[in-house]
């Protein structure tokens, strides 16, 4: 068996073992609290902590009569949300990176605009989402109607760490290396692409890891005020209302949302591994 396959198998076994352990801990906690009758920090019952198998079983059953199984519905909804998140992530990454480059080249712009960028991040996403929907949606071409504005909201949550880290990464280029480029009479553009940007990539990628999960959260939250029913946000809102009767459905949805986030994160990590070549000691 080739070494890479062997590694993959071992890795999956590790992941499986951790998942099993987590499920075991969940059930152990449940069992201890119900047997002892502890109510701190909260009383454990089938509403506050449904059994792991109840949650798993919910995947296979329809949430409502005459509907396909929950897992089928959640699969389609997560595709919808993932679409919003991917576009939002890409938009946020590009805008964030471009802003970082702009700020790195103009101290004036950085000083003048950065405070507003920072301020923009202190506004809760729920407070600006309605405006984004009203402003952006009418301008969007047909296929982007509805979910396009959610992607913009996801981008809003995504670009900030990318800007900050790009800026820092571009400034991380070694002073001697900059001097070397000067001896080649390299233009600012050449210095940017041959030195500053490659030097910034480890920084940019740690921001993209954050951005990957933030874009999924942004897409889910963005769906709430947009009144979109096709994504995970809509499902969460819906299952929220039935939580006291069927908590396992919300739990199942949360698991799917988490899986989407993990998938996004993993794609970024894999891309980073393929692109960024660094001395082993400099790899985060």
């Amino acid at each position: 068996m080739p070494a890479s396959l062997l590694r993959a198998v071992r890795r999956s076994l590790e992941v499986g073992a951790v998942l099993l352990a987590l499920a075991g801990l969940w059930e152990l906690y449940r069992w201890s609290w119900t047997t002892a009758g502890w109510t701190w920090p909260f009383a454990v019952d089938s509403t506050s902590m449904p059994h792991v198998w109840t949650i798993l079983k919910a995947f296979g059953q329809p949430a409502q009569v005459n509907q396909p199984a929950l897992i089928t519905i959640l699969f389609h909804k997560s595709l919808f949300t993932a679409k919003e998140a991917v576009v939002g992530f890409a938009l946020g990454a590009v805008v964030g990176f471009a802003l970082g480059i702009l700020f790195a080249h103009s101290r004036l712009l950085q000083r003048g605009v950065m405070p507003y960028i920072v301020a923009s991040q202190t506004i809760p996403i729920l407070a600006i989402a309605p405006m984004v929907v009203v402003w952006v949606n009418p301008k969007l071409p047909g296929p982007f109607q509805g979910w396009g504005s959610v992607a913009v909201i996801a981008a809003y949550l995504t670009f900030f760490p990318v800007t900050i880290n790009t800026l820092r990464g571009l400034h991380s280029a070694d002073a001697r290396a900059l001097e070397l480029m000067r001896t080649y009479a390299a233009s600012a553009w050449t210095v940017l692409w041959k030195l500053r940007v490659p030097a910034s990539l480890p920084y940019v990628f740690s921001a993209l890891r954050l951005a990957a999960t933030a874009s999924v959260v942004g897409a889910i939250i963005g769906e709430l005020p947009s009144g979109l029913q096709s994504g995970l946000g809509g499902a969460i809102l819906n299952f929220n209302q039935y939580y006291s009767i069927e908590p396992q459905e919300l739990w199942a949805t949360n698991i799917v949302a988490a899986l989407v986030g993990i998938l996004f994160f993993s794609v970024v990590v894999a891309t980073e591994k393929a692109i960024v070549r660094r001395a082993p000691e400099n790899v985060a």
């Binding site: 070397l180 001896t183 009479a185 041959k194 490659p198 660094r278 001395a279 000691e281």
Partner: protein, 265 residues
């Protein structure tokens, strides 16, 4: 005669306003084609500053620097010199071959031509099979050889070296000294070599320029008339020791002269 001048420095002074430091004062120096000149002196004598002035990485406060018959600035823009720093300054994300090709890319060479030249340079610095390695997979001495190959890849008339072997161990340093000499003899370029090692300066150079600190100025120049090609045995030549002593005395005389001013007790 003037066409033979590669570097000519006249009345160069460099003061740094911050702290009111005079790094260089009234430096006059001329280098003809094919010379190997070492700048030596204690730290703070301005030898690296002088190298940077020649390379137009620092502007002098007064005086003129002419490289290849033009201003230092124009010479830099025309890529008339290659530079090697104390650290190899290789780009981690590029392979050894791509690091050597960096200046060639900027000169607009096409892929084929770059590849051929990189092969030549790898052979020249005896790293033939390491082209596809990344810098961090190489030892310090090998990294510095890559740095030298990069500096020479576009055949500059002038090679500026700022303590290139200062961070290496003695054995590696002596081996690289020999390699550098054979490269220099092959290519026939002009070298300005900053060092704080007397033996290295004497062993390598055609001329040793001794500098003294505060303010940085030239204390004296010693012509090194040791036979060539120089080899490991050169270091055992009695004349080699005479020259080493001469450089050391020049350094010490200047040092004594400066001590009272420097450290008022």
């Amino acid at each position: 005669m003037s066409s033979d001048l590669v570097v000519s420095i006249a009345g160069v002074t460099k003061t740094f306003p911050r702290g009111n430091v005079t790094a260089l004062q009234d430096i006059d120096l001329a280098l003809t084609h094919g010379e190997f000149v070492s700048l030596i002196g204690p730290s703070g004598c301005g030898k690296s500053t002088l190298l940077r002035v020649i390379g137009d990485l620092i502007e002098p406060s007064a005086g003129t620097v002419t490289v290849n018959g033009k201003s230092a600035r124009q010479a830099r823009i025309d890529r008339d010199y290659g530079i090697v720093f104390q650290d190899a300054v290789l780009f981690d994300w590029r392979t050894v071959a791509k690091n050597i090709a960096l200046p060639l890319e900027m000169l607009g060479w096409d892929r084929e031509r770059r590849k051929a030249r990189v092969e030549e340079m790898l052979d020249l610095v005896e790293l033939g099979s390491f082209g596809e390695h990344h810098p961090w997979q190489l030892s310090g001495g090998m990294q510095q050889r890559v740095s030298i190959a990069r500096a020479l890849s576009f055949e500059p008339a002038l090679l500026l070296m700022d303590e290139p072997f200062g961070a290496l161990d003695e054995m590696t340093r002596e081996r690289l000294n020999l390699e550098l000499l054979s490269i220099w003899e092959t290519l026939g370029s002009t070298v300005i070599f900053v060092t704080h090692s007397i033996s290295e300066a004497v062993f390598l150079s055609t001329k040793v320029v001794v500098m003294s600190p505060r303010p940085g100025r030239i204390a004296g120049t010693i012509d090194v008339d040791l036979p060539r090609p120089r080899a490991a045995e050169t270091r055992e030549d009695p004349h080699y020791f005479e020259l080493v002593t001469a450089v050391r005395e020049l350094l010490r005389k200047r040092g004594q002269h400066l001590l009272p001013e420097e450290e008022p007790l």
